[in-house]
């Protein structure tokens, strides 16, 4: 196998991508997503945890009906709400007209009674503002629960370990969403795309019947294969680096970038080799893509269940957390890749032998 031959094939494939402007489309797509990432992050973060919408401006009006209780003061305490005491029917009508954000109804159960206090909370259905106010209402309710629990504390048998948590803790899900979910997702996307690209590279030669032409040149079958693998592979660190730059432009700093690129490249080679094996076996795009995408789901699920998997390590490295085992894991992944590469090479040689006969 000659390196120059492999490089020739890799250049041919990369040129093909360049000519078809497909890579331009891919980069446009990245920029498109990045442009709206502020929108995306707000939307997705609140999907991940709706309480992250918790910052309110101004304040909201709340209708209060029923018996007097400390809850009204608790709601007004932080300046988040203005509480209006009103009749339940009128409060319900005002809520439907969106003049109120929510309505609470409190019965006259005594604080230290045997029965629980049952509060009815009326909110707007399917509304962003209801999600925002819901967080603050919960805080007030939890404070009221603490007061009631205090009044009934003589009836409790055990006390939990007391640790004072600062009052403003909570709702900080942006960090964990970005570093713990978005970063590994975006960085592994190029790997997944490249692996499905190699299937197209290989099956195309079969479907357009250009393989014979290629083989009539001094190139061997394995050289052609590794050239294609190389072409798909070099795109991964480039695209991953583009994501890191785009994230940085959006104010999300990624730490230990070289190590992360090493991990992504090593892990992506495994996926690309799996794609190449599948494509060599089926030689037809529809079947190969189908089998590959199913296998991809299996591999991803199985890998994510293992502690210290590459995605986990990338999260730790990106967030600047200690990842003591990441070098050992990298060596492990590389060893696995090496074995898979040998298997692919053997399989390709066998196929080449058959083609010659």
């Amino acid at each position: 196998m000659k390196a120059s031959h492999v490089w020739t094939i890799a250049k041919k494939e990369l040129k093909g991508i360049g000519n078809e402007r497909t890579i331009v489309l891919a980069i446009l797509l990245q920029v498109f997503i990045a442009m709206f990432s502020s929108f995306l992050v707000v939307g997705l973060t609140s999907l991940y945890d709706p309480s992250s919408l918790g910052s309110m401006s101004g304040g909201y009006a709340i209708g209060y009906a029923g018996a007097d209780s400390p809850l009204a003061e608790l709601l007004e305490e932080k300046g988040d709400f203005l509480v209006y005491r009103m009749d339940l029917d009128e409060a319900g009508a005002a809520l439907r007209e969106r003049k109120l954000a929510a309505v609470v109804y409190v019965p006259d159960t005594p604080p230290d009674g045997a029965d629980p206090v049952k509060i009815t909370l009326y909110t707007l259905k399917n509304d962003i503002s209801a999600s925002v106010t819901g967080v603050k209402i919960r805080e007030a309710m939890e404070a009221y629960e603490g007061m009631l629990r205090e009044a009934r504390s003589s009836r409790l048998s055990t006390e939990p370990v007391e640790i004072a948590v600062p009052a403003d803790a909570g709702g900080q899900t942006f960090f964990i969403f970005v570093y713990g979910l978005l970063v590994p997702l975006l960085l592994f996307m190029p790997a997944i795309i490249s692996a499905s690209l190699i299937i197209d590279f290989i099956t195309e030669e079969y479907s357009t019947k250009t393989l014979e032409t290629l083989l009539s040149t001094p190139l061997t079958f394995t050289e052609i294969l590794w050239g294609k693998v190389l072409a798909a592979w070099v795109l991964v660190p480039i695209q991953a680096a583009a994501w890191i730059a785009l994230l940085a432009a959006n104010g999300i700093a990624i730490r230990s970038i070289p190590e992360i690129l090493l991990h992504v490249s090593a892990a992506s080679l495994v996926l690309i080799l799996i794609g190449a094996l599948v494509a060599l076996h089926y030689r037809e795009r529809t079947s190969a893509q189908f089998v590959y995408s199913t296998a991809l789901v299996v591999v991803i699920l199985a890998v994510l269940a293992v502690p210290g998997n590459p995605a986990n390590l990338i999260v730790l490295l990106a967030a600047g957390s200690p990842a003591p085992l990441h070098r050992a894991a990298l060596v492990g992944v590389l060893a696995g890749t090496f074995l898979l590469a040998i298997a692919t090479d053997r399989y390709a040689r066998r196929l080449a032998g058959k083609t010659v006969q």
Partner: protein
């Protein structure tokens, strides 16, 4: 697909089951060890022992005091402190949740349930109706106190029954619900639980179980309804591309069946499949079959796009990238507006909002339906017409690049005898696509602060219109290079301007009343009243591009477009300057 896919599928499905079992057993190990905690308190360390996100180091107080900054969190003297970094705050937030769960697990073991959980909440959701007049100028409705001392409903007051003071559930039931639904805030799981009959958190909740209502129901509808449609349209795309790449289409084309018959025949099974999948989803989710009404134009549009992509892509990789690009853009177009269902009139741009409204029980009117789907119907018709005109041997098996293919598609659809009339007609027909792109900008940009959103909208809208107008001229220019004398350039520009004007006004009459009323509408559609001003503007734009092509050849196309955009944008800015 070849035959030996089936055994492999069985093997993979078994492997999938095993892998899901592994995940269920081990959990997703993505965020393991992201936070570091230092403590001198064994009790506190025990609280966090079960949470893999935290790496806890148990040391003595002196060592802890020395190396405080090394940890994200420090627990000492019965209090927790976070590092003043973003990560430290996130760790503190995660600790607050873990600590709350720990307290709840202690309280759940209590004998006297109502001493441990003295407060229970019954949540009632009230549906509110859309108010178009208040949302017309890009403002959201949100209940904000106006400084008045009293809030009074202005409409009729209905009787709300006074809720009973006691819980309508036994202590055992409440205890079971507490054990089933721990007070944890696992966002995604709640969405996944929407359609499954998993453990119900119970009718009554303690304050810590009280999770804010889900804001983005529509996201679920995107996943559930739109993704199966993508997959099916992928197959349609591949089937068209296969005809071309393996030249099987030649046999089909040699039969007496016309292109329309072939296309209809090829698309029908996919259409039926998509309708069947959507109906099945409607049956499973228990919705009304009215939901299919807004989905039909979306399905047809997907098929039209699949046909166009299948006919223009030169290879499978180009096909893959085009389809990924198309699906991302379409997801944004369908998804972003529907986030604002109930909040903003912009949401009605997406047919999915109608699905959301139907699921909520609000329903939609015929006018809403026309407004949300008209662009889909018209664009679909245009793309199908274009593809039918080009479903010939010559066009299907050429290996030109993407842009020149599109140009030759347009050129093939024109009549050689009446080039100017064809130009006008092409422009009339392209209007729905142009509007769709401009609506896309509106969807993406209206969230920006006001002056920026207007400026960006003006520039992008002008650019898109100029590109769309130039397409017909470029196609003619490439098709018949010596056609363009200076006289013909002027006539072609006038024909383009006329076609554009007629198409624009026709479409505005049909459906745009709601958007044109607002400030954004003025930007996009440059005033409805005067006719000769927009006509001159459209003609001038086309003339600039035509003259650039005539004088400088194909290299001058891009500068020409930029110049035309600048002229167009400054006209609009002056117009808006008056409006502002």
């Amino acid at each position: 697909m070849s035959k030996d896919v089936l055994p492999m599928t069985v093997v993979l499905l078994v492997a999938l089951l095993l892998a899901s079992g592994l995940i269920a057993e081990n959990g997703i190990r993505l965020q393991d060890g992201i936070y570091t905690v230092g403590t001198d308190d064994a009790g506190a360390a025990a609280i966090l022992a079960g949470d893999p996100r935290f790496v806890v180091s148990l040391t003595d107080s002196a060592a802890l005091a020395r190396s405080q900054d090394a940890y994200d969190l420090v627990i000492a003297d019965g209090a927790v402190r976070g590092n003043p970094t973003e990560k430290g705050r996130a760790a503190l937030s995660a600790f607050a949740v873990a600590y709350r769960n720990y307290r709840n697990s202690v309280y759940t073991g209590e004998d006297d349930l109502f001493a441990a959980y003295p407060l229970w909440i019954d949540t009632v959701e009230v549906t509110s109706s859309l108010d178009f007049t208040a949302t017309d100028n890009g403002q959201r409705i949100a209940p904000k106190p106006q400084g008045e001392t009293d809030v009074r409903p202005s409409g009729p007051v209905e009787d709300l029954p006074t809720p009973p003071a006691t819980l309508a559930a036994s202590t055992e039931e409440l205890r079971r619900d507490l054990a089933d639904a721990p007070a944890e805030n696992n966002g995604i799981a709640r969405y996944l639980g929407m359609f499954s009959s998993g453990p119900d958190p119970g009718e009554f909740k303690t304050p810590s179980q009280l999770s804010p209502p889900l804001p983005f129901d529509s996201l679920i509808y995107i996943f559930v309804f739109i993704f199966p449609l993508y997959f099916t349209s992928q197959f349609a795309m591949m089937s068209i591309a296969n005809e071309r790449i393996e030249r099987r289409g030649e046999i089909l084309l040699s039969t007496p069946a016309g292109p329309l018959t072939i296309i209809a025949g090829k698309m029908l099974p996919y259409f039926l499949m998509m309708i069947a999948v959507s109906s099945a989803i409607v049956l499973i989710t228990g919705g009304s079959f009215l939901i299919l009404l807004p989905l039909v134009p979306v399905i047809l549009f997907f098929l039209a796009a699949a046909l166009l992509i299948g006919m223009t892509a030169r290879s499978f990789r180009e096909l893959s990238f085009l389809s990924i690009f198309f699906s991302t853009v379409m997801t944004s177009y369908l998804f972003f507006p529907s986030i604002f269902a109930n909040v903003h009139v912009i949401s009605l741009l997406s047919p999915l909002t109608l699905v959301v409204l139907q699921f909520q029980g609000t329903g939609f009117s015929a006018a809403d339906y026309v407004y949300a789907t008209a662009l889909f119907w018209l664009s679909t018709a245009f793309i199908f017409w274009l593809c039918t005109r080009n479903f010939t041997e010559e066009q299907l098996f050429s290996q030109e690049s993407l842009t020149s293919r599109l140009c030759s598609f347009i050129f093939a659809a024109m009549s050689r005898e009446h080039p100017f009339a064809s130009l006008a007609v092409i422009n009339v027909l392209a209007i729905p696509l142009v509007f769709m792109v401009q609506m896309m900008y509106l969807v993406l940009l209206f969230n920006l602060p006001l002056p920026w959103s207007l400026v960006a909208l003006i520039l992008l809208a002008a650019f898109t219109e100029e590109v769309a107008r130039s397409v017909g001229i470029v196609a003619l220019f490439r098709g018949i290079p010596d056609f363009f004398t200076w006289r013909n350039v002027v006539v072609a520009a006038a024909a383009t301007g006329l076609g554009f004007l007629v198409g624009e006004k026709l479409l505005l009459l049909v459906m745009m009343a709601q958007v044109t009323g607002s400030l954004f509408g003025t930007v996009l559609f440059s005033g409805v009243g005067l006719l000769w001003m927009p006509f001159l503007l459209h003609t001038a734009g086309a003339l600039i591009v035509g003259a650039a092509l005539k004088a400088g050849g194909r290299g001058a196309y891009f500068p020409g477009i930029l110049l035309a955009t600048a002229v167009h944008a400054s006209y609009n800015l002056i117009l808006i300057g008056g409006a502002l």
